[in-house]
């Protein structure tokens, strides 16, 4: 754990502007030259209820939220009060302060809004402050904001105070506020920012503690991006101009970003009656010659099961996005989990196949979404981008150049009318779209698009002949089945030649390995560094290709170490199960580290898990360490 970092937590009530304030603050820190990583914690409630966002900022690369934090800005939950009924929602009123103390590091700083929060309501507050050497600043931010005419500006006052205490140059914040705020509210916000800053500087000892902002510099321009942004931009850059969806947390973020941007790009966004319709629309648009996508989260994706199979059988390209949240059923809508892996891999009837990518970082979310479109359209097969609420919502800095890629509007394996004219047709003039002969021997027969002369064919979810007519002929069945399956081998070969996907990290000749997938990648990387610093010898493989599975690469990785700890956020070890199924051996080399309490892993969880499973438990390598849900989660 490096001390050369600021992990700033801003806590308050949902709807109190915590998200926008923290987003701006993170951007200001990024602009000042630091690497940032944000983590959001919010309840499944629109207004009120305790919420916080953490921003970790360091000159060194940051890959996870870190362990604990060192600076708390507790603003108070304005919605915890209900003046009409004179009622309080339980004891939530003090939560922004009381709920956050457990993870505050020794020597940390607390600013709390004494206009809304009363520290004397918290048992043992003073003792804990004393014990942990915390530095507490009770500032009446609410009154200050009221005096400036708008109580919501408590946030800005808090940021001003933070800057004074952490040694952050106000210039960065001012510049950002000027960019982001309409003129009318800019002036009072700038005033209160300065007033709070100066008040703290003049009345308090700002050097009493040593939580200070580090200094850093980027060698190239950065952008602050979430996983949801990256997925949407990846789709846009691949020429996707049609999206159909139905809202469901956390998929809604991607849907929203696409809907807000597509019309300006001449594209179409449709919010429709349900998820079955959404997936079916994406198929219809794709069939008619447009790059199309849809998506959902667990329950909505369940409804897409049948259209998904239809896409495979009719060889209609489509990209579906699956944003995991804790299940089963509606589960915990705002909490991350990786429990939909098997659902996404195996849903839909018959021998059906789809391509599944599970990006591990925001940057990968962009590249792999692009890859998902390329594979879908080239191979005429559904492909899925599987991620979770954590990756979707976290904001990190990514070099802007990462997005400086050419657009790719290619529809993949399609034919022009001239090419169609030369292709085989049946007696009625139907084009043999599902021909047995595929030019590249990769199972792909190029398609025609409705409206093209001479290209008519029938797409059907029933087994069919080359021109599309329904058939139960056994020989044809085997041919068509084999043809569809041949694509998978070809895709596997194509992906093996790519460097963008599965990422290895750590010393090549390490003794132990971590295997993980999706959003846990960065956290595990950080744990790998710490363990190696502590004298262990570990490395990691973050797998992003769930289907087809990178059997060779994973096998080599497992072979190269004594034992492997598989880290995933679910209770039934789905990724370990998949790995074991796919590689078909090494069962006794793999053990699991599982967490499913609604919170993602922190690096320390993994360090401890390694010690319990690998160091202390040599006899039982297949044990699973589970993290028991903490009270209140």
């Amino acid at each position: 754990m490096t001390n050369d970092e600021l992990i700033w937590r801003i806590a308050g009530g949902s709807g109190d502007g915590i998200a926008s304030t923290s987003q701006n603050f993170a951007k200001a820190l990024m602009r000042s030259g630091l690497n940032v990583f944000t983590h959001r914690h919010y309840p499944s409630r629109i207004r009120g209820g305790h919420t916080y966002t953490e921003i970790r900022a360091s000159a060194d690369p940051v890959k996870s939220r870190g362990d604990g934090y060192n600076f708390l800005l507790a603003l108070g939950d304005s919605f915890a009060r209900n003046p009409q009924q004179n009622a309080y929602y339980g004891n939530e009123e003090i939560k922004p302060l009381s709920e956050n103390l457990d993870e505050l590091r020794e020597g940390g700083v607390i600013i709390y809004d004494s206009g809304l929060l009363d520290a004397s309501e918290i048992e043992d507050f003073d003792e804990r402050v004393e014990e942990n050497d915390w530095h507490v600043y009770d500032l009446d931010l609410r009154t200050m904001a009221r005096e400036h005419g708008r109580e919501v500006m408590r946030n800005t006052a808090g940021v001003g105070a933070t800057c004074a205490l952490a040694g952050i140059d106000l210039e960065w914040i001012e510049e950002l506020m000027t960019d982001a705020m309409p003129e009318k509210i800019l002036e009072p916000n700038l005033e209160i920012l300065h007033e709070a800053y100066e008040m703290v500087e003049s009345e308090y000892d700002v050097d009493a503690h040593d939580v200070k902002i580090p200094e850093g510099e980027h060698d190239e321009e950065q952008v602050l991006m979430s996983g949801s942004d990256a997925i949407a931009y990846g789709a846009i850059d691949e020429g996707c101009r049609f999206i159909a969806g139905y809202p469901m947390t956390p998929w809604t973020e991607v849907f929203t970003i696409m809907s807000q941007n597509l019309p300006e790009l001449g594209g179409i966004s449709e919010q429709v009656e349900d998820e079955i319709a959404a997936a079916a629309l994406a198929l219809g648009a794709s069939h008619a010659g447009v790059k199309a996508m849809s998506g959902s989260s667990g329950g909505g994706f369940a409804l897409m099961s049948e259209p998904l199979g239809l896409a495979e059988m009719t060889e209609t390209p489509v990209v579906l996005i699956e944003a995991m949240r804790a299940g089963p059923s509606t589960g915990m809508p705002t909490k991350p989990e990786q429990g939909d892996l098997e659902h996404v891999l195996y849903t839909s009837q018959g021998d059906s196949h789809r391509i599944v990518f599970a990006p591990g970082t925001v940057a990968e979310a962009y590249t792999q979404t692009r890859k998902a479109f390329q594979i879908a359209y080239e191979y005429q097969i559904p492909s899925i981008v599987l991620y979770d609420q954590k990756l979707g919502g976290e904001l990190v800095n990514v070099p802007a150049s990462h997005f400086d890629e050419e657009p790719n509007p290619s529809l993949g394996s399609t034919l022009t009318e001239a090419e169609i004219a030369d292709a085989p047709h049946d007696d009625s003039g139907k084009f043999s779209r599902f021909s047995y002969d595929t030019p590249e021997d990769n199972g792909v027969a190029p398609r025609s698009i409705p409206g093209q002369k001479g290209g008519r064919f029938l797409a059907t979810g029933n087994e069919h002949m080359p021109e599309g007519h329904i058939s139960e002929d056994p020989e044809n069945r085997v041919f068509q089945m084999n043809k569809r399956m041949r694509k998978l081998e070809a895709i596997r070969e194509e992906l093996d030649g790519e460097v963008v996907n599965n990422s290895e990290y750590g010393e090549e000749d390490a003794q132990y390995g971590f295997l993980t997938f999706g959003s846990q990648q960065g956290t595990v990387e950080e744990a790998v560094d710490r363990l190696n610093e502590d004298g262990h010898s570990v490395k990691m493989l973050g797998v992003s290709e769930m289907a087809p599975y990178p059997v060779e690469q994973v096998s080599e990785f497992i072979e190269s170490v004594d034992e492997v700890l598989v880290v995933e956020m679910n209770a039934s070890a789905q990724f370990r199960g998949l790995t074991q199924k796919e590689v078909g051996r090494y069962g006794d080399k793999l053990s699991s580290l599982l967490k499913y309490n609604g919170n993602p892993f922190e690096p320390q969880d993994i360090v401890e898990g390694f010690e319990v499973n690998i160091v202390e438990n040599d006899d039982h390598p297949h044990t699973r360490t589970k993290y028991v849900p903490a009270a209140g989660d």
Partner: protein
Amino acid sequence: MSAFSAIGEGKEIDRNDYTPGLEPQATWCPGCGDFGVLKALKGAAAELGKSPDEMLLVTGIGCSGKLNSYFESYGFHTIHGRSLPVARAAKLANPGLQVVAAGGDGDGYGIGGNHFMHSARENHDMTYIVFNNEIFGLTKGQTSPTSPMGHKSKTQPHGSAKQPLRPLSLSLTSGASYIARTAAVNPNQAKDIIVEAMEHDGFSHVDFLTQCPTWNKDARQYVPYVDIQDSEDYEFDNTDRREAAEMMHETEDALHEGTVLTGRYYVDSDRPSYQQEKQQIGEMPEEPLAERYFDDSYEWERSYDNFLDKHK
């Protein structure tokens, strides 16, 4: 030049142009009303001069869904109840296509009821033909949403306790802008209605009464029908919502009492289609979206130039 040169080809088309050269695996029983829809659709397409390559016929699952096997055009035989969302999107992607969706009463009013309601509400420019045989044909004769009360079947041995659904009234309240009922036993009226429906700019719904001699021997579709437009007894203004609604109710009551009334029940030519509305508010391109993918001179925009500034 358009990448879709079949669209608007406008050559002389014969109804035989819509007949597949291959003998489809026979799936319809002799005497099935579905042949009547096929005949009417072929006649209508020929009359409109649509080439098979510019038509997209999207079907659901059921005997009705096999229409694609007998009709030569671009086709998408989808899944049970889901023809409408597929068809809608294809039309949005390429408004030049003549899009027709078709399915059964189970397919369209049962499992796909939600899509029916919303497609009508949105007034997509397309035609929807429902083969209404008051029964599930393909799964061997179970009760459907339009089966009359008391209808006995293997899954409803004591007779259905449910009121049949009223497709015309439902369509009207949902927002369809062209609503008609016709019957397989009257091929001429059926063809005329399908021509009108296909020409109509908006969601046109044709409830097509088809007999199922295999599973629904006592259905009333065998009863001689009355063409309400030809009959002096049924004069009403089919551009007036309220009058149309009343007439639909009368028709739907009469069907269960043994009189089959058919004709155009509601025609609203003024209401813009969904595509037009969407273009109006700037959510849909003027040129067909699908064309763009074949246009080498089109300049594709990318996120780097358009959106990255706000993340800096």
